[in-house]
Amino acid sequence: MPTAAEGAPIGRRAVVGILGLGALGIVFGRDVQHGVSKVLGPVRDTGLAGLLPGGGGFELYTVTGGYPLPPPDYHLRVGGLVERPLRLTVSDLEALPATRLTADFQCVTGWEVSNVHWVGVRLDDLAAHAGALPSATAFELRSFDGVYTESLTRTQAEQTGALVAYSMLGAPVTRDHGGPLRLYVPGMFGYKSIKWLSEIDLVERPVPGYWEDNGYPVNAWIDGHPPLSRTA
């Protein structure tokens, strides 16, 4: 075959070059993405720019067929090992002492949203309000999507200052973000921040949640461990 042997093996070199670029992209891609986000950020919600990767916005995950709607008689139930089980509407929750904080949302797969404003009631405040029994060491949280669950120990709730949030990004939590009520756990990966929250049970020990059952690490600390200096 005369023609096949002719010419330089550019094809192979191109493949090797692309592999090299890919490796560079994986190692330095986060910094590049930050630059891209700065450029795309202001135009993200206008037309095509919103479709490009990494405008710095949320990726709105759901594990069921779409974003669930709350049942008509929606309320948040707090039960389990407590003296006074609670049934709270969103306005009941808004009447409780509010905690406001601005913190980043970090997905375990790598994307993040900086400086998100959250308003809600701290999970440990809620436990105190319901009169949690000393034997209760963890929260078991369930979504009204009927599938998603998460859990958090009471120590973790204290260390993180986890919130049952009714407001994020300066407005009531929208349906796609997990409204009317969702959890936000600062310092932990996003999968801990259960959306469409409807039930909180105080239990003796934590039970792995939805993604943890599907291989995600139970240790969801972004830094790999609880903050060493921060105390509740």
Binding site: T3, A4, E6, V15, G22, G54, T62, T64, T109
Partner: protein, 236 residues
């Protein structure tokens, strides 16, 4: 060089049978890959594109299908290229790998107006693949491996530092966009040349087509003689 002229009568009798462009293994590999790519594009869109995500949901299931199709992608290629049956494929890969002076000139013709470009390229006497097809092959091979690696990092993320996971997300998302555009280009070019498209189904292509688009390859096929061609067509 006389692409547009009527060939002598002796050649005309061979026109009907045409020449074998892709053997059965190559055609099967192409369509298996095309199916896997379609699955990857559709599930990838449902995982990435927010409005579609809202419609489809079921993240875990969609993720598993996407991952399965991605991991499966190299398998048909490896099976096709490895065996005795992979002769035609291996030979075409070697053709795609080698770049010659006409390939450079093919690219240099890009800025020319379409009518001029056609003449410039016809004069190049190209082999079986033009430079665009060679570039597409190199991109698909290299880019596919990068997608596979970054995709695996996104699924089995625990060993990797967070900044690498973010980097893998960056690479996977942007490269997916490039792949999407390249696939659109590939399909629209195929739809513009129905005969070439059909040869990926039937295997054979007319001598007239080969004389216009791949004259050096046609010479090569003819030089190998009718016995070689017949031998390949028995394999059909």
């Amino acid at each position: 060089m006389s692409a547009g002229h009527t060939p002598p009568a002796a050649t005309d009798t061979r026109t009907d049978a045409g020449v074998l462009r892709f053997d059965r293994i190559e055609r099967m590999l192409h369509w298996v890959n095309a199916t896997l790519f379609a699955v990857l594009v559709l599930t990838g869109a449902a995982l990435y594109f927010t409005p579609l995500m809202a419609l489809v949901g079921r993240r875990l299931l969609v993720e598993e299908i996407h991952l399965g199709a991605g991991l499966a992608l190299p398998v048909p290629f490896l099976v096709a290229v490895a065996g005795r049956w992979g002769r035609g494929l291996r030979r075409d890969l070697s053709r795609l790998n080698r770049w010659t002076e006409p390939d450079r000139r093919w690219f240099r013709a890009l800025p020319q107006p379409r009518s001029v470009r056609r003449h410039t390229r016809a004069a190049l006497r190209l082999g079986k693949f033009n430079a665009g097809q060679k570039l597409n092959a190199a991109f698909t091979a290299g880019g596919g491996l990068v997608m596979l690696a970054s995709g695996c990092m996104l699924h089995w993320f625990t060993p990797f530092p967070l900044s690498w996971r973010a980097g893998a997300t960056f690479v996977h998302n942007w490269l997916a966009l490039v792949f999407f555009l390249v696939i659109i280009g590939h399909v629209s070019l195929a739809l513009r040349d129905r005969e070439a498209l059909w040869s990926m189904v039937r295997g054979r292509i007319s001598r007239a087509w080969a004389r216009t688009h791949a004259p050096a390859w046609l010479d090569e096929v003819d030089a190998e003689g009718p016995s070689a061609v017949a031998g390949r067509s028995v394999e059909e």
